[in-house]
């Protein structure tokens, strides 16, 4: 039976008058690829901060690998690898120097660093202030990857700043880790990003879990259709769709049956280009708010 790696119960976090977490419940099992999705300010990073023991929850309980992350942070950090969203590294140090220091304090094998750096094409012999954002992100990624035996990988918007090739490799590496039994917990503001990786997703908003489950179960048959037309779009002719107009000839539609029902109507305006994709986070949150108001 899989054990619970992360267990958050009725978690709240208050910063002055702001409630960053408001009774958050969450369970993540061993070996899961779990995505925490929400718009900016939803409480994703605060949740990750509690899990890492960087902050103490105002109330509720948090258990990570059976430990209290605030009280037992050093023990927990032996088993956890962390990647922040906005990577900041000590500017004056060169990458190799910093990684070697991190590896030696965390008792990790520092001999693997050169091979990983070469695999990821990271220049480790330069001061980190001279590195591009993408390369800094890669240095931080190496820090995560050298923790080969980590039981839990916690990543905050890990693909931001990475080029598409590196993004793909990272997702592949995370899948391999999960296959080997590690649990991957990461946050994102994009549903499409977690779609390609996660077994389960929690959507949070205003410090609460709104939805929890597999992405298919959450989004159903709802999709997004983005179109660019030759002529201005008359929204009254698209009823019952309620397109979001970016400009008079650029609109986004979301819902079910887009290809069957909405596309023929849009053809009246002369479609130049169309993109079909999964449901957006905004739409999911909008649906939820609409339901709340209806109640």
């Amino acid at each position: 039976m899989n054990q619970q790696v992360i267990q958050l119960e009725n978690l709240t976090k208050q910063y002055g008058t702001t409630r960053a977490l408001d009774g958050l419940h969450l369970q993540v099992q061993q070996g899961e690829l779990f995505g925490l999705v929400g718009v900016n300010g939803a409480g994703k990073t605060t949740t990750l901060s509690v899990i890492m023991g960087f902050i103490k929850a105002s109330s509720g309980t948090a258990s990570v690998l059976g430990l209290d992350p605030w009280k037992n942070a050093p023990e927990l950090h032996k088993e956890v690898a962390w990647l922040p969203g906005d990577v900041r590294l000590p500017d004056a140090l060169i990458g190799l120097e910093w990684l070697t220091y991190q590896a030696s304090v965390a008792n990790l094998d520092k001999n693997q660093i050169p091979a990983l750096a070469s695999e990821w094409e990271v220049p480790l012999n330069r001061p980190m202030r001279t590195l591009s954002k993408g390369n800094r992100q890669k240095v931080a990624l190496l820090r995560l990857l050298i923790a080969k035996d980590a039981k839990l990988l916690v990543l905050d918007e890990p693909t931001s700043g990475l080029d598409p090739v590196a993004q793909e490799r990272l997702l592949l590496a995370l899948r391999e880790r999960a296959k080997a039994g590690a649990t991957v917990f990461f946050s994102s503001h994009s549903l499409s990003e977690v779609q390609t990786l996660c077994d389960r997703v929690a959507v949070i908003d205003r410090g609460k879990v709104l939805k929890l489950g597999t992405l298919n179960a959450l989004t159903g048959d709802t999709h997004t259709l983005t179109v660019w037309t030759q002529n201005p779009i008359d929204t009254s002719q698209l009823e019952p769709w309620k397109p979001r107009l970016i400009s008079s000839t650029h609109a986004i539609l979301e819902g079910e049956g887009l290809l069957e029902d909405a596309l023929p109507k849009l053809m009246l305006f002369g479609i130049e280009r169309a993109e079909f994709g999964g449901m957006s986070l905004e739409h999911l949150l909008e649906q939820n708010h609409t339901r709340e108001v209806a109640r």
Binding site: E75, H77, P84, G85
Partner: protein, 258 residues
């Protein structure tokens, strides 16, 4: 303490120490050369000094004897002015280093290491104290040319002075989120202390203000001539340690969101 965190914290300051060692020699060398020239013109210098406003003399602790011997000159110029400035700048830099990590967001990689906050912070404090000792040794490597007979006297006072300001610096840094605030508060306090001592020595009836100032007890010349004021040394050391204690408590309980 974690030896690797300690070594890393100390290592980060190595470039600064090298530059300090080079930098400190320049004013000391020029001061030594200047002292010889002034000694030759003792009478003329005496007249100039007598003509200076009492406030200036008090502020820079200048008296005729300061210039009559190499020891006095070096104390007046080197120890009275150079060391406090070095200490404040070092304390602001060392303590501000942690605030800078908070400000720049590099702290979370440190926090995610399997080292308790207490051990991590203690390693930083000990690295700061070692840095202070190294700074003092570098300073004395030059100054001791002329003050070797009583070097340990000023070293005792100077170290206690350093521990006090380092403790204040870490306590301020524990509540601040950026290096600028730490530096500002440190130099603000430094200036305030200086002002109080100056007012106490220049305005009649305001002598009590001197009791509020660290500067009143910071007397390198009298330490070299009369011995170590052990009460002051003990008080400063205890206050410095209290500063470290306050900083440690705050560090252990502080939320540091990612």
């Amino acid at each position: 303490m974690n030896s690797k965190v300690f070594a890393n914290a100390f290592r980060l300051g190595r470039v600064g120490l090298i530059w300090y060692a080079i930098g400190v020699m320049l004013p000391i060398l020029s001061g030594t050369l200047g002292q010889s020239a002034m000694q030759d013109q003792g009478a003329a210098l005496g007249k100039i000094i007598e003509g200076l406003p009492p406030a200036v003399l008090a502020m820079f602790k200048i008296n005729l004897s300061s210039f009559s011997s190499p020891i006095g000159y070096m104390c007046a110029r080197g120890l009275s002015l150079l060391w406090p400035i070095v200490v404040i700048a070092f304390a602001a830099g060392s303590a501000g280093g942690i605030s800078s990590m908070l400000e720049r967001g590099t702290i979370h990689f440190e926090l995610s290491l399997p080292v308790s906050r207490t051990r991590w912070f203690m390693s930083r404090i000990l690295a700061g104290l070692l840095g202070l000792v190294v700074l003092m040794l570098v300073t004395f490597a030059v100054l001791s040319v002329s003050v070797s007979a009583q070097w340990w006297r000023f070293m005792t006072l100077g170290l206690a002075f350093g521990i006090l300001w380092l403790g204040i610096g870490y306590a301020v840094a524990a509540f601040a989120r950026d290096r600028g605030l730490v530096t500002g508060v440190m130099f603000g306090l430094f200036g305030l202390e200086f002002l109080l001592a100056t007012l106490a020595s220049t305005i009649s009836g305001a002598g009590w203000l001197g009791n509020l100032s660290i500067w009143t007890s910071y007397t390198p010349e009298s330490v070299m001539n009369d011995g170590v004021p052990w009460g002051t040394v003990a008080l400063w050391t205890v206050l410095g340690l209290l500063g470290f204690g306050l900083a440690l408590w705050r560090w252990r309980t502080r939320d540091i969101p990612a």
